[in-house]
């Protein structure tokens, strides 16, 4: 433990909370406006009806559910990766975990909203909640949508707690520096934290137990999202491989989302000393691994269908392989497999920029994958006379754009009020243990913002 180093870390990581530039307000204003646009589109759709969308017979599922699956997938990066890294005690995890966990919480909120929008009449959402309604009817527990309700809400609650618990010591740190209303708010959030050995030990024990519990929950969530498809006898949906395929895809897109978020935070909040090339290298390696796994699943899925040559599945297969959806398919393959393979398998190319470019490709590719799972299968159902096509309506496009803006907005607000890197965990990671190990020299960190360490918030 070194006082000067620790003070610098505190000052650097509290800097975003101390000052607010004009650019920040402009960013929040722009993101808020785009988010509001989506809400207006949703309100307009509620008033005039779901006929404004491109949903039709036979394509009953469109952009809303594509984005639902996409955002639930993005949510997988955070808590799952954080939990795994905590359990294996990877030392490089410390600056990454909170960035990742925040993604999970926000992506789940956004993803969870989309089925409500898709409902058309969201006020009937309470039909999903398991209590006997006025007609004496309960929800059908056999429906995968009910499983979604339980799985997503369990994951959301667990992820929120997993995000909140390690924040408590940081809230206490801010409380002790703050004055006025901020002191009251952070005082309430720190729930009487003092930092006694008992509190530290219990907090770390709780995080370990939650990490163990949350990994199967995370896996179950996307498996259950895949069951929304796999339980239906629809061409190319009714597959036993869908569970692990969706989980792999979700982790894949989640890591990509995390890399992009970290790169933006690093640049905007000047966290170059904390989110280093090492973190991008490690996450780049994980992304490459998931890319290979994703390629394996796609190959297995496609080969099995092609070999089976089923009359009902082949029209979907060829539509996505050489037909009207083929451009999307090949762009998806290029983004999800070829690009990561080129950029991330070579040490020289696996730079921060390389990882970000690969991640942007993966996010695009995974969105296209969700589109290719939903739309072609519904367009080419078993009987040719029911075949149709789908073109999104403007509310669907507006809502989709606003989900991205909402994600950025929530993240922007989050980093303004909460240190995006866990201060106590980062400090803890910079210190060696007691004797007989020699106490190492403190890492040299820039003195930037050190003078602000004692500044009242």
């Amino acid at each position: 433990m070194n006082l000067a180093t620790d003070s610098r870390i505190t000052a650097d990581l509290l800097r975003p909370l101390l000052g607010t530039s004009g650019k920040y307000y402009v960013t929040v204003g722009l993101l808020g406006a785009v988010t509001l646009m989506g809400l207006v589109a949703w309100g307009y759709q509620m008033y005039y009806g779901i006929g404004l969308t491109g949903l039709n017979s036979p394509v009953f599922w469109g952009f809303y559910l594509i984005n639902f699956v996409f955002w639930i997938g993005i949510s997988h990066a955070g808590t799952l990766i954080s939990a795994i890294l905590r359990l294996i005690d990877a030392p490089w995890r410390r600056p990454v975990t909170r960035c990742a966990e925040a993604i999970t919480a926000f992506a789940l909120v956004i993803g969870g909203t989309l089925p409500l929008i898709h409902l058309g009449r969201p006020w009937l959402f309470f039909y999903l909640i398991p209590f006997p309604d006025g007609r004496g009817l309960w929800p059908n527990f056999r429906s995968p949508l009910m499983w979604d309700f339980f799985a997503i809400n369990t994951y959301l609650l667990a992820s929120t707690l997993f995000l909140f618990l390690p924040m408590i010591p940081d809230f206490a740190l801010i409380r002790d520096r703050a004055t006025g209303i901020r002191r009251t708010i952070y005082g309430a959030l720190s729930v009487g934290w003092r930092g006694t050995p008992k509190q530290w030990h219990r907090l770390e024990s709780a995080m370990q137990i939650m990490a163990i519990a949350i990994i199967p929950v995370a896996v179950s969530v996307h498996t259950i999202v895949s069951f929304d498809f796999a339980m239906a006898v629809v061409p190319m949906w009714h597959s036993t491989v869908f569970g692990p395929y969706f989980v792999a895809g979700a982790i894949f897109s989640g890591i990509a989302g995390l890399i992009i978020a970290m790169a933006i935070l690093r640049r905007v909040l000047r966290l170059e000393q904390y989110l280093t090339a090492l973190h991008f290298q490690k996450l780049g390696q994980l992304l490459l691994l998931m890319s290979l796994l994703w390629g394996y699943f796609v190959f297995s899925e496609r080969l099995t269908i092609w070999y089976g040559n089923d009359n009902h599945e082949m029209p979907v297969f060829w539509a996505t392989f050489t037909g009207e959806y083929a451009p999307f398919f090949w762009v998806m393959v290029a983004c999800n497999f070829v690009l990561p393979l080129i950029l991330l398998s070579n040490q020289k190319l696996r730079t921060i920029s390389g990882c970000v470019v690969a991640s942007c490709g993966v996010v695009l590719g995974m969105w296209l994958e969700r589109f290719l799972i939903v739309v072609p299968s519904l367009s080419y159902r078993q009987l040719p006379y029911t075949w149709g096509s789908y073109m999104p309506g403007w509310p669907e496009i507006a809502v989709m754009v606003s989900t991205f803006a909402a994600m950025a907005l929530l993240y922007t607000l989050f980093v303004k009020f909460i240190p995006i890197i866990s201060i106590w965990e980062f400090k803890d990671g910079t210190h060696p243990g007691p004797e007989p190990r020699p106490i190492a020299e403190p890492r040299t960190l820039p003195a930037r913002g050190a003078e602000a360490a004692g500044e009242a918030l």
Partner: protein, 165 residues
């Protein structure tokens, strides 16, 4: 509340102060320690290393499991809706609900046991120094007797000595 304590900038000195307090006969449970980081390797308070939290989590999981199995099964029995000739109580779908409720029970029980064991959710006590957040380690005792005071101050001499009168 009266208290005598010292603030240390390094864990080694804090550890020495704790050892000195114990040597003069102060019980571990009477020594108040606060640190800005876990510093568990220094074992400031070895008695705090034992916890039953994992068993509480198992118990919570068990309660969640029973609830998760009962909710759909009893619902299906009380409001029997025959769907497509399938059994009224559908084991496979109910297993999914049971699993989710089991994990939720374990997680919620863990958080409740944390709040209880770490005494969270209470007002910040009087015996606290905000300098702990400035990377200092606090070691002291509450309500020392007048006879104890010189020895306590001697034991804590390695740090910045403070008192709450």
């Amino acid at each position: 509340m009266k208290a005598t304590y010292a603030l240390y900038t390094d864990p080694e000195s804090a550890k020495q102060a704790i050892v000195a307090l114990k040597e003069m006969g102060v019980a571990q449970s009477d020594i108040v320690i606060m640190s800005p980081e876990p510093l568990e390797a220094y074992e400031f308070d070895p008695s705090e290393q034992e916890t039953s939290m994992r068993w509480v989590a198992v118990l919570g999981g068990g309660i969640g499991c029973v609830f998760g199995a009962s909710l759909p099964s009893l619902t299906q029995l009380l409001w029997p809706l025959n769907t497509g000739g399938m059994p009224i109580v559908s084991i496979w779908p109910n297993l999914i609900i049971t699993f989710e409720m089991t994990m939720l029970g374990a997680i919620v029980a863990t958080v409740i046991s944390l709040v209880r064991a770490a005494r969270l959710g209470r007002r910040l006590p009087e015996f606290y120094d905000p300098q702990v957040s400035d990377n200092k380690i606090l070691v002291g005792i509450a309500n020392p007797s007048d006879a104890q005071l010189p020895d306590v101050e001697q034991a804590l001499r390695g740090g910045e000595l403070k008192t709450i009168p």
